[in-house]
């Protein structure tokens, strides 16, 4: 089973953190959807869908890990442990979300290249299904490329929020390396989860800055 990892005492905390990710990604998706409603530009729609997919993925992870750790139903536990359906859904949703982030942030306009990115990410989610290490290697590669892209954006824009986005994705990418290091010591899993949590909190801080700035402007 791929879904539950790390020390037993940490499992319920890990589950709760997923709810934090659900909230943050949902808010970012919501703001992008607001931009889509105002402009009807597809890039905002893709970006909103990317974050909403992430939100659903983390919710699936949360529900499945709660069901597995609390043993609410032996039927659910049997289904989830036998085929790792939850991990398959989580992996697929997260890969599709990052594919859409790629497409929007790299401003890929060509339909064929867009399709290629989506197909490749779909293939990655299939190939890494039930393979914990392969999954995190794939996620590291994807997140590292996204972080590199956000670093380029920071160099171009030179604004603090762009820096926060870069830091956030850099932390998310580094967290994947600690997920891999679990083969040496399972405490590395805790480090990975904490790093991932900090990554998302940095993203949340960026979002609060954006929202507060808007409010200040309205009050001025």
């Amino acid at each position: 089973m791929v879904l539950l990892n790390g020390p037993y005492w940490f499992m319920s905390l890990d589950s709760v953190f997923n709810l934090v990710y659900v909230m943050i990604t949902m808010l970012i998706g919501g703001l992008s959807y607001k931009a889509y409603k105002l402009t009807e530009e597809r890039k905002y729609k893709y970006f909103a869908v990317a974050f909403e997919l992430m939100s659903i993925a983390f919710f699936v992870y949360f529900v499945a890990s709660i069901l597995l750790t609390t043993h609410v139903s032996s039927t659910f536990t049997a289904i989830l442990t036998e085929f790792d359906y939850a991990f398959l859904a989580y992996g697929f949703l997260i890969m599709m979300a990052y594919a859409l982030l790629f497409i929007t942030t790299l401003k890929i306009e060509d339909e064929k290249i867009r399709t290629l990115v989506l197909v490749l990410m779909f293939a990655l989610s299939v190939v890494t299904y039930q393979y914990y290490l392969k999954f995190h290697v794939a996620l590291f590669a994807v997140l590292f490329l996204l972080a590199y892209n956000f670093y380029d954006n920071y160099l171009e824009k030179k604004n603090f929020n762009a820096k926060l986005v870069f830091i956030s994705f850099f932390l998310l990418a580094c967290a994947q390396l600690f997920y891999l290091a679990i083969i040496f010591n399972e405490l590395f899993y805790v480090v990975a989860v904490v790093m991932q949590l900090v990554g998302f909190l940095v993203l949340f801080y960026m979002l609060l800055r954006v929202l507060n700035h808007g409010r200040e402007k309205r009050e001025a």
Binding site: K34, T104, N159, A162
Partner: protein, 92 residues
């Protein structure tokens, strides 16, 4: 050479031009202020009217056609900064 304006910026420029003129503007002035071709301006104005951010009015004295900004248009201007900052942060 200046950067190509995004759709978000063009909409903001159009609405800002109307607001700064006291809430309504003549089409010729808007063409000049928005820095768009005639066809592009017509396209944007029609879209903004569909979204109820603009409305067409008539000058009481001269009977000239004018474009006026609606409450929805004014709300867009307050939301613009927030969305611009958001998109700049991610660079898309």
């Amino acid at each position: 050479m200046g950067e190509r304006r995004e759709k978000l910026d063009i909409i903001k420029d159009i609405l800002e031009a109307i607001r700064d003129k006291g809430g309504s503007i003549k089409p010729t002035h808007l063409l000049y202020k928005s820095n768009l071709s005639h066809d592009s301006m017509k396209k944007y104005v029609s879209e903004l009217m569909d979204k109820e951010m603009l409305h067409e009015t008539e000058d009481m004295k001269t009977k000239d056609k004018k474009y006026g900004i609606t409450d929805k248009g004014l709300k867009f201007l307050t939301d613009y900064k927030q969305i611009k900052e958001f998109t700049d942060s991610f660079g898309f």
